[in-house]
Symmetry: C2
Subunit: 317 residues, 2 copies
């Protein structure tokens, strides 16, 4: 039986001009490590859901990515993280928004899916649930990252928020391109049982305020999985992805319009999102193991591996 | 030019057996009042978005409904409210989750849509934004309601949460049917300019914990609007509506499969949701002023009016 795993580490202004050889080597190693974590589960007959969690945990534990240990800072200097997981075999889903001091938010999302009776928990309430479930916590020191902190310091006294991989900001006025490129992480997988799953984890936008929630933890927007169609994880300008209900849109184009996985992803990312000025990308698989890595930005940290021994990582177009 | 306004005040186990003549008269008056508030805007050439807000504010201000003044109590004895609004003319959207001491959460959702640069704010952060925008606050006393409090007292020492209009609870063990029937509120409208909008507002589930977020404030799940297809507001078992991405599903069935508004609503509510055991209903309009009031539960508080002078309210099948 065959399996497929696809991952992303964020999309945006990722070009050879902003990456040196050391950085390229670091990201290459990090993406291979994430693929290895998921692959070891899939090759032993594990579930797509478990592989997605393992691949995402690997990236959450790596300060290179804007999730878990590498999460960016809010306006108040906090790390507030969002994550979601969905199991395409039964449409079970779990999500958390604005959680602090959680080592692996994707594991907390999984606990929500399996043990809360709910789908979506937020802020202190989600942390209280994490305590109850014995989910591993992390100190502020563990989650501290100097480059994220430096980037926050540059804009903390403004009203600007900063997207991953963008040299400008949401108010349209340029802020210095810090060169600190980072991103939301996600994974989608098809296991040997023919089940698929999707997960996404993020620290959101640097200098974000007001407990802003992006698309990552919203089922249908940043994350969606259904064995009958596809599993999708998104990364990009969350507000636009929320309004476009991106992940479920890919699924509906397949289910209702009969598009292939490839065509559905292309329509959503390169036509519909572009018209909304929604920069970013997504990864997707279906239950046959077909996969897509699709983005309308300059680049996307990404990788895939499968049961045929194929493995690749890439950054640029 | 023609216009249409449709409202709901929650779906569930609403039957003649649980309503007396006084209650029927109160709900009838409340629904007519909401329709009147929205109608007065639409007949004067106002926008669908403004009519939706006015109709929802009327229900938020009425303790009969589980939104605003009538919001239910959480496990900690608080009123935590969710709301969302979407403008089908430009796909702009705003939503808040877990907000306290806000008189009209739907107005705060509108402020998020228009002035935050974001789509979705939660908890204390959303309240901070409300303060900044000068959104009207309300005291705990204003939001206190004896019947909601009594219902909470009956289950506060359990782990149970209680859905609107249900005599049982989410853990499957029956709790006494208190007879306190109430519900999430919502409105959809088509204005004389041919624009449509949708909004939803709720107090969520009695005795809810962990800052649980249901479908109401999630764009695509409980609320969605797009001039090209439909405007939809949902009410029901939120977790199932989240997993089924209900509101956007109606839109996709129209856009990608060519279904009529009527057929799309029927497929989603009476086939797909039933298979998921997702009890509830929705209201919908399109830009031609066609409308639907569709539910798979025993009843739904609902009403509609239009530019032809038609006006109706109903509770039961």
């Amino acid at each position: 039986m065959s399996y497929t795993l696809v991952i992303h580490g964020g999309a945006g202004n990722i070009t050879p001009a902003i990456m040196n050889a050391t950085q390229e080597a670091e990201y290459t190693a990090a993406l291979h490590e994430s693929l290895k974590a998921g692959n070891s589960i899939l090759k032993n007959g594990g579930t797509a859901t478990d592989a997605v969690i393992a691949a995402i945990c690997s990236m959450e534990d790596n300060p290179l990515f804007n999730a878990g240990r590498g999460a960016v800072f809010t306006k108040k200097g906090l790390n507030e993280m969002d994550a979601a997981i969905m199991d395409g075999s039964n449409l079970a889903a779990g999500a958390v928004a604005g959680v602090r001091n959680i080592k692996n938010p994707i594991r907390l999302a999984s606990e929500v899916m399996l043990h809360s009776g709910h789908v979506f928990l937020a802020n202190e309430g989600a942390s209280e649930f994490a305590l109850k479930q014995g989910v591993e916590m992390a100190t502020d020191e563990y989650l501290f990252n100097q480059s994220r902190y430096d980037q926050w310091m540059e804009i903390r006294d403004t009203d600007f928020t900063q997207l991953d991989h963008k040299g400008d900001n949401l108010k349209g006025t340029a802020v210095p391109d810090t060169g600190h490129k980072f991103g939301t992480v996600g994974a989608v997988a098809c296991d040997i049982h023919g089940n698929i799953a999707a997960g996404t984890s993020t620290g959101g936008m640097t200098n974000k305020r007001f407990n802003r929630i992006g698309d990552s933890p919203v089922i249908g927007a940043g994350t969606y999985a259904n064995n009958a169609t596809c599993a999708v994880s998104c990364t990009g300008h969350g507000e636009l992805f929320l309004r476009a209900v991106v992940a479920y849109d890919v699924s509906c184009l397949m289910e209702y319009k009969g598009l292939s996985l490839h065509d559905a992803c292309e329509v959503v990312v390169k036509d519909k999102l572009v018209k909304l000025d929604g920069e970013g990308g997504l990864i997707a698989v279906n239950a046959r193991g077909d996969y897509e890595l699709c983005f309308n930005s300059a680049g996307m940290y990404r990788g895939m591996c499968n049961s045929e021994g194929k493995e690749m990582v890439a950054f640029y177009k």
